[in-house]
Subunit: 266 residues, 2 copies
């Protein structure tokens, strides 16, 4: 059963998870870590793996009936009522190259639907956490509802690179950036963070996974924004990719129509 | 006359200027500041103006024979042998909306050529400073020369918005982002900072002004990179705009050819 009290409890637990992520990062950044390049040419480090293992163990020790879906080690009890999704380091490329915009994303699904999200930027000492019905906070301070769009709206968009995973749909990057030329592209969950705090007006991500997008889905709805999934596809490996348009309600519908029109014309 | 000793002296002076910028920012952020929207719809705050006035006064008090060219208050002695260029807040839109990626850019021109550059990010407590022949440092630590390009090179690019100042050349944004889809777009001098530190491989900016680009020209050359100006134009107001391609030598030529081809076909 899901209620506010139980979500408050899971939120506190998510913050404990965040503390253990910070401990691993501090220790490993001092000790140095190994870098590997994955089959899809993205980076993975020993740090990503250590964080995910730490989180996964803590979750299953505390809640043996819960499930875990992680970027690095796959699934445990994926059909459980409560399932945690983990992206230990979102922006491993940034971490490896020294950019501080990387982050950790944790979400909790209840019967498959995201109900809690946490995004932590250890390099900025910045944590966004929120859950369904109980709002969002940033470093313990309540995050206000999203305001009206800026006069020249700011789009936060994933890298053009994201639009050529599987088939090349980079035309979509062009169409969307033409509609919102005042764009920012951090290529990490720092974009989510900017959106939740009203620093961007609308966000567009494409070809991502559940552990990337589950947290922002809860968070953006909790600050009064919309979140719409688009472009679901299943790769040969069985991995599901999807995209999303999210942010200030006044803008989501218009961008969605633009993207759907493109998809129809394909 | 210009020599290393005199550049060391100006570098020390630039760091003193940076300290006074930080003092103004700290004070004004606490006190609150006014926001105006300029004719070109960009933002300017009372903070931008206070910083530029403070810097300009300090420079002309210390070096009465020097000139100053600033974003907010125009020129004083622009034909002097030594001229300082000032962008008090690069990324005023970020500052206003709460994003920490804004910065202050200071450069020194000798007979019209940039010989010293400083970029300061007060929110990150991060200062990049360097001068011709004496290298670049980041928070007092020597910045190493740029390494080889990444396997999937990272482009740092200005916002698509930059390509529609005056005539619409946003096709150029598309062509360049298609060549380097693994892009980052901070829309502030944080992009320069990422490039100098080797976190991006190549940078592309368009339709900017001398106070935006003079510092990065010195800094990137000092860490062993190339810097090539492109697309100079003079607006009716007499203001000169230009763009630049800069970064790791292995990549600059290829991107330059792509851009020149586009310009030829116009």
């Amino acid at each position: 059963m899901l209620n506010d009290r139980c979500l408050e409890k899971y939120k506190d637990f998510a913050l404990i998870l965040k503390d253990s992520v910070r401990q691993v990062i501090t220790k490993e950044l001092q000790a140095g870590f190994n870098i590997e390049i994955k089959q899809d040419k993205s980076f993975v480090t020993s740090l990503d793996k250590k964080i995910e293992r730490t989180l996964s163990e803590k979750i299953l020790e505390t809640y043996p009936n819960h499930g875990v879906i992680g970027e690095e080690f796959g699934e445990t009890n994926p059909d459980a009522e409560f399932v945690w999704t983990l992206d230990p380091i979102d922006g491993t490329e940034e971490l490896v190259s020294g950019l501080p915009t990387y982050g950790t994303i944790i979400a909790l699904l209840y019967q498959g639907e995201p109900v809690l999200g946490l995004i932590d930027h250890s390099a900025f000492d910045l944590t966004i956490v929120g859950a369904k019905g109980i709002g969002v906070s940033c470093n313990d301070k309540q995050v206000p509802k999203l305001g009206k769009p800026s006069e020249i709206p700011r789009l936060y968009i994933g890298s053009r690179h994201q639009f050529i995973r599987g088939k090349d749909e980079s035309k979509l990057f062009e169409i969307v950036s033409a509609k919102y030329p005042n764009l920012r592209c951090f290529c990490t969950c720092y974009g989510f963070t900017s959106l939740i705090q009203g620093q961007a007006d609308i966000g567009f991500e494409y070809n991502l996974k559940i552990w990337d997008l589950a947290a922002i889905e809860v968070l953006v709805k909790e600050v009064g924004g919309d979140f719409v999934k688009i472009g679901e596809q299943t790769l040969e490996s069985g991995l599901k990719l999807y995209g999303a348009i999210f942010g200030k309600k006044e803008l989501v519908k218009g961008l969605l129509d633009l993207v759907l029109l493109f998809k129809l014309q394909q």
